[in-house]
């Protein structure tokens, strides 16, 4: 029942001994501590209701109800610690797992998630999210780098250029995330970098979520003419979220450099044999 922890010289991540879920991050350099809970949830996809016949589909995200269901309230965990890496392997269900990873010298926490094939035998389309819940007082605001341009401030249930009549409390607050999403209370900033474009939001103060996978049973009647439902067992997706905890003042320097490294990541090529020694000179 000891608290599990992985740490290097810059970051410490702790895990709840009862649930196996991530429960806090500490930035050791700046002595910042952020309690949090991170887990996977799924929205039940709408197939239409009395308000509207619009179903969730390839073009449209429309959950049946605003509260997502947890994939699991706890995770089976396995801790790996060596000199070169520290990892917590979390198994949430037969179709959802994650490795939380820390390398020496790294200023961010790496979450490598694996989701799928999403089961749909219960006849419910599912839209799976990874959600971070923190006590940060974010006053309805979050930030995304929509469309690969500058990071934009997003306010819940608000549009800067017209009076919004919000009819979709979840989907109406979702925005494209190309490389990063963050929340801040003005002092502390939690930033999550993605390895691909995803949808993301902050539906409650201190909360941040990213959609990682979806599998749907109904067509949204927007032209594609078929449900977002891969044949046979469905797709199995693996991706990474890079998490940075920083002071709001210093955060930009951290996430800009890290995003560059993620987008222009080193490429690996192998060659058999011992080869001829090569020196950059």
């Amino acid at each position: 029942r000891q608290v599990l922890a992985i740490e290097n010289e810059f970051i410490q991540a702790t895990f709840d001994p009862d649930t196996g879920l991530l429960m806090g991050i500490r930035n050791k350099e700046q002595n910042l501590v952020l309690p949090m809970s991170q887990g996977f949830f799924w929205y039940q996809a709408s197939t239409g209701d009395k308000e509207s016949s619009q179903a969730s589909g390839a073009y449209i995200f429309r959950p049946e109800r605003p509260q997502p269901l947890p994939v699991s309230r706890w995770a089976q965990v396995r801790l790996v610690k060596t000199a070169l890496v520290q990892e917590v392997h979390q198994n949430f269900s037969a179709w959802c797992s994650q490795v939380v990873r820390l390398y020496p010298g790294q200023r961010h926490l790496e979450l490598e998630w694996t989701v799928g094939p999403i089961p749909v035998q219960d006849d419910w389309g599912k839209e799976v999210i990874s959600r971070f819940d923190t006590p940060l007082k974010t006053e309805g605001q979050f930030f995304t780098d929509s469309n690969g341009r500058e990071v934009l401030r997003r306010s819940r249930n608000y549009r800067p250029t017209w009076r919004l009549n919000q009819t979709e409390p979840v989907a109406g607050n979702y925005y494209p995330v190309n490389t990063r999403i963050y929340i801040t209370d003005g002092d502390v900033q939690l930033t999550v970098l993605t390895d691909r474009s995803q949808g993301g939001s902050s539906l409650r103060d201190g909360s941040l979520e990213l959609m990682v996978h979806r599998r749907l049973l109904a067509d949204d009647e927007r032209g594609v003419g078929e449900a977002l439902l891969e044949s046979e067992s469905g797709q199995w997706v693996r991706g990474r979220h890079l998490v940075l905890l920083d002071s709001a003042r210093n955060a930009a320097a951290g996430h800009r450099l890290l995003a560059e490294r993620e987008v222009l990541a080193p490429q690996l090529v192998l060659a058999l044999g011992r080869g001829v020694p090569y020196r950059p000179g």
Partner: protein
């Protein structure tokens, strides 16, 4: 000869909103994937030619397209192999390299022939499935350039070989 034009063309086709947003029909999505895969093949040749020319040695380079799911047949063979790390950024980067390997102990050397600390992790696998091991070592690559690391499997009866210090006089 290598050619980047097929990948250019595939990428141009994939500018269509159906491919960007995933709103295509399944058979169209399959075709997008086919075009990308076919486009990448001649690019591998192009990259191989460039690396061979820059490093001054002609090697049969191998690309591991499924490294993210720990699939890379060349690194699982018992024979020694080399790892080329190309850095497209304008500044030096340090990167932890992870490669699936068959069980054993490994000696990793950097471009100057110095031994680099390495670890082999055994990954959890479902019951009845073969265990996967991954070799880890920290690699460094210069700005807009590349480094070549060599990996040799060592018989496990000499486990201390992993931490042996490199002696330049005995090296080739």
């Amino acid at each position: 000869s290598g050619d980047s034009a097929p990948l250019n063309e595939a990428m141009a086709v994939l500018q269509h909103h159906d491919a960007v947003s995933g709103t295509s029909r399944q058979h169209v999505a399959n075709d997008y994937a086919r075009q990308l895969s076919a486009g990448w093949g001649p690019c591998e040749v192009l990259v191989s030619n460039a690396l061979a020319r820059l490093s001054g040695s002609k090697l049969d380079f191998a690309f591991c397209r499924e490294l993210n799911v720990s699939v890379c047949p060349p690194s699982r063979r018992p024979a020694p192999f080399q790892v080329v790390i190309y850095n497209p950024l304008g500044r030096k980067v340090d990167q932890m390299v992870r490669l699936p390997v068959s069980e054993g102990t490994f000696l990793v050397k950097d471009p100057n022939g110095k031994t680099v600390p390495s670890d082999v992790l055994v990954l959890p696998s479902p019951p009845g499935q073969e265990q996967t091991s991954e070799l880890l070592f920290s690699a460094s690559a210069p700005a807009l350039g590349f480094s070549i690391y060599s990996v040799t499997r060592i018989p496990s009866r000499h486990p201390k070989a992993r931490t042996q210090q490199y002696d330049p006089k005995k090296s080739n």
